[in-house]
């Protein structure tokens, strides 16, 4: 069987059933679009939570009487701890300036206060420790036992809350994702089934005049391939345009500038294309099988 013949027949079919084909492609496109946009949303949410988490730091307050000379060795010891990303020393004066900046217009309330009343500290960033609260706890415990350390603070409440929120978010995302996938699968496979059933007579007649299963399936599968591919491509294009629009309107708002949006990674985009195409081809194959086995 020459593949060229298949393409020619697929083209003729396409012309004859143009409306149905456009419809199926449209259904595929919409389903993919929902899925891609959902992916875009949850991907950015995840990025956002992660970034937020990464900004969390452990603060090590030193005793006020620790001598200046001990700082470098302490710095090294902290840096050497497993899981520490970066360490920054904040002297009493630095801390005072930070407090002033924080209080802004009310900084006059610090008038007459000794600039050294705040203890020096280390700001320790943990390497992506957001969801691994145990590691943070362990590091904090080690450091709090050193004689020079007054107190280790790591915003336990915040870490816990963040974890709880991201837990709920993840649950919602999973439920919604599964639901979307189910919907898309159901809707697309039904549309395919209905369009194949509509051509049941044609299939039956071809079989009666001696067509092999391959001969009958060929054009259907080629068409399904294009439906899946074009539908998904269209969805990706539209969601990319949507992303551009949102990203621009976000970066045009000075206050949201640091909330930079990302488009989906190429693997995800490729995955959507591949899954959509495969699904259409497979769905058509299965729908056809009903009429092909005797």
């Amino acid at each position: 069987m020459i593949p060229g013949t298949f393409f020619k027949r697929a083209l003729r079919d396409l012309k004859q059933n143009l409306f149905t084909h456009l419809m199926t492609t449209g259904v595929v496109a919409f389903s993919c679009l929902l899925f891609v946009i959902f992916g875009l949303f949850s991907f950015n949410l995840q990025q956002f939570v992660e970034k937020f988490g990464r900004e969390l730091a452990v603060v090590v307050y030193l005793k006020k009487d620790v001598s200046q000379e001990k700082i470098p060795s302490l710095y090294k010891r902290i840096n050497a701890l497993d899981g520490v990303e970066s360490v920054e020393f904040i002297s009493s004066e630095d801390a005072y300036r930070e407090l002033q900046a924080f209080l802004k217009d009310e900084k006059e309330i610090l008038e007459g206060v000794d600039p050294l009343f705040l203890p020096p500290s280390f700001q320790v960033e943990i390497n992506r420790a957001v969801f691994n609260i145990d590691k943070v706890k362990k590091i904090a415990e080690i450091m709090s036992q050193w004689p020079e350390v007054a107190k280790v603070q790591y915003g336990q409440e915040w870490v816990d809350r963040l974890e709880a929120i991201s837990q709920v978010t993840r649950n919602i995302v999973i439920i919604a994702g599964v639901l979307l996938l189910l919907t898309a699968t159901f809707v697309v496979s039904n549309t395919i089934k209905l369009t194949v059933y509509a051509r049941q007579e044609e299939i039956e007649i071809m079989r009666l005049v001696g067509a092999t299963n391959g001969f009958i399936q060929g054009p259907f599968l080629i068409e399904a391939f294009f439906q899946g591919f074009i539908g998904a491509s269209f969805a990706i294009l539209v969601s990319w345009l949507l992303y551009r629009y949102l990203a621009e309107s976000v970066s045009a708002t000075p206050l949201l500038k640091d909330m930079d949006l990302h488009f989906l990674p190429m693997e995800y985009v490729g995955g959507v294309l591949a899954v959509s195409t495969l699904f259409c081809v497979l769905g058509t194959y299965i729908a056809l099988r009903r009429f092909l086995k005797s």
Partner: protein, 228 residues
């Protein structure tokens, strides 16, 4: 005109019961030689179409054995059926045309399934359509034809790939006398070239004055086998 050659169709004790209903065929024994032209007759509902359907595996027998051109239909696998059907040209009682295909495409289908390209089929299809008198309507859709015209397209499709066996199920029911004679002549001509033909009909005038073999079915039983 019966050539005594090896049998091309053999039926032994063939029985067909459509699920749950009384049998449509009961114990049919039949042997048809290569190159024979056999009429099949009998009242409405006597099993003519059923018998033909069994010969190209549109239905499977519920008992007995059938051999067509050395293929044992009881052991024939699904993937072999297309190859059986390419050897058997069928004119269906209800035509079974694709309503939204043109006359040309309907007839060409028989050749396309063989893997021939458009170019190759064009000449043969045009010739056969001309011989059934539909050349000027070759590009009409099947749905735009009269009943008799559709029947002629069905005939053209069945014979265009020159199958060794032709099963004609009431192929002249919608045709006038002149057209009927033409169709019978076409069949005679194909038969003269060696095609085995089973021609199911109610029209006794088609076989009363010929010397053809006539099979008569009644309520699923092969009541009479009158060698011409």
């Amino acid at each position: 005109m019966i050539s005594i050659e090896q049998p091309i169709i053999q039926m032994q004790g063939v029985e067909k019961v459509y699920g749950g209903y009384s049998p449509a065929l009961k114990g049919v024994d039949l042997e048809i030689s290569k190159g024979e032209f056999v009429f099949l007759t009998g009242p409405s509902g006597s099993g003519k179409s059923t018998l033909l359907k069994l010969l190209f595996c549109a239905e499977r027998p519920t008992g007995g054995s059938i051999v067509v051109d050395d293929m044992d239909l009881s052991t024939l696998s699904g993937s072999q059926i297309p190859y059986l059907r390419r050897k058997v040209g069928v004119i269906f009682q209800d035509f079974k045309l694709l309503p939204n295909y043109t006359v040309f495409d309907n007839v060409a289908l028989s050749l396309e399934v063989l893997g021939l390209t458009r170019k190759q089929v064009e000449k043969r299809v045009t010739a056969i359509i001309e011989s059934v008198g539909l050349l000027e309507k070759i590009n009409r859709l099947a749905v735009q034809l009269s009943g008799g015209e559709q029947q002629r397209v069905a005939i053209a499709r069945a014979v265009v790939n020159r199958p060794p066996i032709i099963l004609a199920d009431e192929p002249t029911g919608n045709l006038d006398r002149a057209r009927t004679t033409e169709v019978v002549e076409l069949m005679n001509e194909l038969n003269a070239r060696g095609t085995t033909i089973i021609f199911a009909t109610h029209d006794e005038t088609l076989f009363t004055n010929t010397h053809r073999r006539v099979l008569t079915l009644r309520e699923g039983i092969l009541e009479r086998d009158q060698k011409g």
